[in-house]
């Protein structure tokens, strides 16, 4: 495999898009290619992630983006892997570049749901679950993670304050991120007073519906040996799957695909969890951050819930978790989220996030889950 780098990134502010997904995606693609110091014609393949383009009556986004970039002859594919769509696109780009099928590839993740009301958007989100066997039986997305949270709380001793501390931490980080959807801190009181969405999950346990677009340029070291920015060296790019339906899982105290992807990624990178300086993990709900940290091996089973309360996962803690604000507060534009995690790591490594800088940036991990873990991506990055 060829050594593969992330060499440039682009992202808009997550929240509400006042333009179409196509326009937003093309703009961040230009930003990322410019950031990398490349020309669009140096892109050999474009991988576009999008889940809900049909709500804008638009599929087949890839060629439209390439047209807008002036490279209509470049191949593209538009792919969907629920909330892990753009990390899946990144993995495809990695496979192409590392395998020698492309010297440079463009990854674009874009989502727009802000033109829909909450009820309709809740319905669309739930389509990532098993429609006839979960959604049709009353599952919502918060409802499925709430079921996992209930199982976790029944097994391990936790308090609402532990989950509240995760929300408070991630909002504090997002307040220092100009690209974040929610740029405001919250207090534990605000968390505890917020209404229940699906018990035990309160409003502030949940990520928002966000619009957003993010792009990442991936390139082979041997083809572009003199990058403009400090590149992220892709030490591991791994995908894993698991049985989709919660009703077919033997264990509700974690996501099997996270465990599998994490184990494979650490093996591929020849690293142990203790070697990672900071992480961006999939915190669509506060319980998801807890499960992720345990599934990836950063904390023993049943113990991660208290880490935010104890400050371990704060920006200046032993393991900074979601310095961007995470899905929880930076926002969750479904198919842009995974690429967005990579933007945060790139910006931290390049010193572009001074207000929320983490102390050590030699190695970082990005963890991105599709739905309730039917799919999962883990990427580990290092420096040259």
């Amino acid at each position: 495999m060829r050594e593969t780098w992330v060499v440039g990134v682009g992202s808009n502010r997550y929240g509400k898009l006042a333009e179409t997904a196509r326009e937003a995606a093309t703009k961040v693609a230009v930003e990322a290619i410019d950031d990398a110091g490349l020309e669009p014609k140096q892109i050999d393949h474009t991988f576009v992630a999008n889940c809900f383009g049909m709500t804008e009556h638009q599929g087949h986004l890839g060629p439209l983006i390439n047209n807008g970039l002036g490279i209509p002859d470049v191949p593209s594919v538009t792919l969907e892997s629920a909330c892990s769509s753009s990390s899946a696109a990144l993995h495809e780009a990695f496979v192409h570049v590392a395998g020698g099928f492309a010297d440079a590839a463009l990854v674009v993740g874009v989502e727009r749901l802000g033109h829909l009301d909450t009820m309709t958007a809740t319905g669309y989100f739930a389509f990532g679950a098993d429609y006839p066997f979960e959604t049709r039986n009353g599952a919502t997305f918060p409802g499925l993670y709430a079921t996992l949270a209930s199982a976790y709380r029944a097994e391990f001793r936790t308090t609402p304050e532990m989950f509240g501390a995760i929300a408070v931490k991630n909002h504090a980080n997002a307040a220092r991120n100009p690209k974040a959807h929610f740029q405001k801190e919250i207090t534990l009181r605000t968390y505890l007073d917020s209404p229940v969405v699906a018990s035990p999950l309160r409003l502030y346990d949940c990520c928002p519906f966000s619009d957003g677009a993010t792009a990442v340029v991936v390139a082979a070291r041997e083809a572009f040996p003199h990058p403009r920015n400090e590149p992220l060296v892709v030490r591991a790019s791994v995908r894993a799957g698991a049985v989709t339906d919660l009703q077919d899982r033997t264990d509700l105290l974690g996501l099997p695909s996270s465990r599998l992807a994490g184990e494979k990624a650490f093996r591929q990178a020849k690293l142990a969890p203790g070697a990672i300086d900071f992480v961006e993990v999939h915190d669509c709900f506060t319980i998801a951050e807890v499960l992720a940290l345990e599934d990836l091996g950063f904390f023993p089973r049943g113990t991660a819930a208290r880490e935010a309360l104890e400050g371990t996962t704060a920006r200046d803690g032993r393991l900074p978790v979601n310095p961007s604000g995470g899905l929880k507060a930076k926002g969750h534009p479904v198919a842009a989220t995974g690429a967005g995690q990579v933007v945060e790591i790139f910006e931290q490594v390049n010193g572009r996030a001074p207000d929320r800088a983490v102390p050590r940036t030699e190695t970082a991990l990005a963890h991105n889950v599709g739905a309730t873990g039917g799919s999962c991506s883990v990427h580990i990055f290092g420096r040259r």
Binding site: G138, G143, T147, D248
Partner: protein, 135 residues
């Protein structure tokens, strides 16, 4: 009349007609599933054997859904539960008029019951009732 394997629509029709609930049993590891498939999701063996599932079981985990999707918006709040069926297989379903976590505590006995809308609906079984009085 069904020809193996059960189709998804046969599963769904059973929910609406009041059963019997459809499922599959793995020919190798014997695990029972209430989800449609062609091979065992645990060991990969096939073909699966058709199975009829019990209409009774106990809650494994669940939630009270307050913010519902449009299909359930007029029913919220309601319970969404995972149920371990007697004799094997887990099935998810909803419970109307259940508003507290205490009512869906793990181990609570429930019975599948034909509902007034598509999907699997459960009702709690009154404690101490041999007849399984629904409440």
């Amino acid at each position: 009349m069904s020809t193996p394997p059960h189709s998804v629509s046969e599963f769904l029709r059973a929910y609406e007609s009041g059963g019997p609930l459809r499922g599959f049993r793995c020919p190798r590891c014997r695990v029972v599933t209430a989800t449609w498939g062609l091979a065992c999701s645990r060991c990969g063996a096939r073909p699966l054997e058709e199975a009829t599932l019990s209409d009774r079981g106990r809650i494994v985990a669940g939630t009270i859904v307050v913010v519902a999707s449009d299909e359930f918006v007029n029913d919220a709040p309601y319970a969404y539960v995972l149920v371990e069926l007697d004799g094997g297989g887990r099935l998810s379903g909803w419970m109307p008029n259940v508003h507290t976590d205490e009512e869906i505590a793990p181990g609570t006995p429930v019975q599948f019951t034909p509902g007034y809308k598509p999907g699997v609906q459960f009702a709690r079984i009154a404690p101490g009732s041999a007849e399984g009085t629904l409440r």
